[in-house]
């Protein structure tokens, strides 16, 4: 077990610390298996502030918690398990994004957005995503290897897809991409990072204002149109929603693109299998999503009433982390969970997109992006290989969303 935390009042916490590190990028933190077996609903203390939280690690319990209306996603509620440092004063000024809202506010906004992310709408976006991917691979091949696949492909694809979705005018693409890439650049100083966030916010604010008077064929315009009668959101809500789309669909998809490519490069037999039978690809993507579960603790909640989970009573006001990476390595659901198996029948039962009313709205879009990127790379860059030894890669161990910082490749 990890060392005890030191809470602000100076008393040592008796609980293990969270987050726990992944020792292998393709698996869960080593402590999870023991927790699932011995104490599936357990106490931990948050590394960032020493505060206690509950950890839920079994697949059935994670589903139970995330499907329970007696838990809240509102990060302003006392007891919510924050995983980054935030002062009371800053918290008071935070504008809630949809993913932090509870019903009925959440329901009203989500209902207006659902039509944008149906299986059919996603299918309609596929040709444009294919163009984006092809353009990026053209540029990559023209530049010649080695290149960092994160910068050359993994980041720009979701960024350009979101531009398309939000209706960012073509002339603004380069600037927009620069700001959105800054949100993921961990080498920036806090000042540089803050400046990029502010510039992006101002841009999104202007974009929403523009679409209020000159609507286009895009998500923001359609949302504004519906909102005229529904009145579920004000101007700032719409700007916040646009930012949520960007943040929610950007780093997550980018990290899955890079990690998935890495997994294929590290398992040439799996790559050969996909190349010979592309009907395997959809299930392979579910399996990659399961194995990596990159947003492990993105499912933070706080109980608003006492609830019982696995024989343990979680009291109202206590924080809960329903760990989807732990659930997705539950051996009672996924036999031999550490093994990447593209034929795994139950792969789709993973909780990498969460579960319950907040399950990722962009899941089908992310699946389409992953499918197009992987299949196009396999077809167009058959000689793709790592340009550095795999041991030299650096992983985002401390980040909210797991990933690899750079993926140098050549062909």
């Amino acid at each position: 077990m990890t060392q005890s935390a030191e809470p602000a009042d100076g008393t040592a916490s008796p609980y293990p610390q969270f987050p726990m590190r992944r020792t292998c990028p393709f698996s869960e933190p080593g402590e999870y298996a023991g927790l699932r077996a011995d104490e599936p609903v357990s106490r931990a203390s948050l590394k960032v502030n020493g505060k206690p939280t509950w950890l839920v690690t079994r697949h059935e319990h994670v589903k139970q918690v995330l499907g329970d209306p007696r838990v809240s996603s509102n990060l302003k509620r006392p007891g919510y398990p924050h995983q980054f440092h935030i002062s009371e004063e800053m918290l008071a000024h935070v504008r809630l994004m949809m993913l932090s809202m509870d019903p009925p506010d959440h329901t009203a906004q989500r209902r207006m957005l659902i039509p944008e992310f149906t299986a059919r709408r996603t299918k309609e976006m596929r040709p444009r995503i294919q163009e984006i991917v092809d353009e990026r691979i053209d540029a990559m091949l023209a530049a010649g290897g080695p290149v960092d696949l994160v910068q050359a492909l993994a980041l720009p694809v979701p960024s350009l897809t979101i531009c398309e979705l939000l209706g960012v005018p073509y002339g603004d693409h380069a600037q927009f991409e620069e700001w959105s890439a800054a949100l993921m650049n961990h080498d920036l100083t806090p000042e540089e990072y803050g400046a990029a966030v502010q510039a992006l916010d101002m841009y999104l604010d202007k974009l929403v204002t523009l679409k209020e008077t000159e609507p286009g064929d895009d998500l923001i315009s359609r949302f504004l149109e519906k909102n005229r009668t529904e009145q579920a959101a004000d101007h700032v809500d719409v700007v916040t929603m646009a930012r949520m789309m960007l943040v929610g669909g950007h780093e997550t998809t980018a990290n899955m693109i890079a990690l998935g490519v890495l997994a294929l490069l590290e398992h040439p037999e799996h790559m050969a299998e996909l190349r010979s039978d592309d009907t395997l690809l959809p299930n392979a993507i579910e399996e990659l999503l399961r194995v990596f579960s990159i947003s492990d603790s993105g499912t933070a909640r706080v109980a608003v009433e006492d609830i019982e989970v696995g024989g343990v009573t979680i009291r109202a006001g206590e924080g809960i982390l329903a760990l989807n990476n732990a659930a997705d390595h539950d051996e009672t659901v996924f036999a031999d969970p550490g093994t990447l198996d593209f034929h795994r029948k139950e792969a789709r039962s993973h909780l990498a997109f969460g579960y319950g009313i907040h399950q990722c709205m962009g899941a089908n879009l992310a699946r389409a992006e992953l499918e197009i990127v992987y299949s196009t790379l396999l077809r167009r860059v058959p000689g793709l290989r790592l340009a550095v030894p795999a041991e030299e890669l650096r992983y985002k161990d401390d980040a909210m969303v797991y990933g690899v910082y750079e993926l140098p490749v050549t062909w």
Binding site: L66, R348, G356, N364
Partner: protein, 63 residues
């Protein structure tokens, strides 16, 4: 086998339509629509999987 859904609970994830497209679809609002209320036994496994994957537990399979 009989399939019923609760559209008030539906959050439009589309998991059902992807898992069992013969039985489920999404309407223009993105909410679940049942295409066959009494699907044949050959679809039983897929329908149960769709119900299991539904994040808002909006699908009920009886009989």
């Amino acid at each position: 086998m009989r399939v019923t859904t609760d559209r008030d609970r539906c959050v439009g994830s589309g998991q059902c339509a992807m898992q069992s497209p013969e039985v489920f679809d999404q309407d223009d609002d993105g909410l679940v629509v049942v295409l066959q209320e009494k699907p044949g036994a050959e679809l039983l496994e897929d329908v149960h999987r769709a119900a299991d994957l539904c994040p808002s537990q909006s699908i009920r399979v009886t009989g």
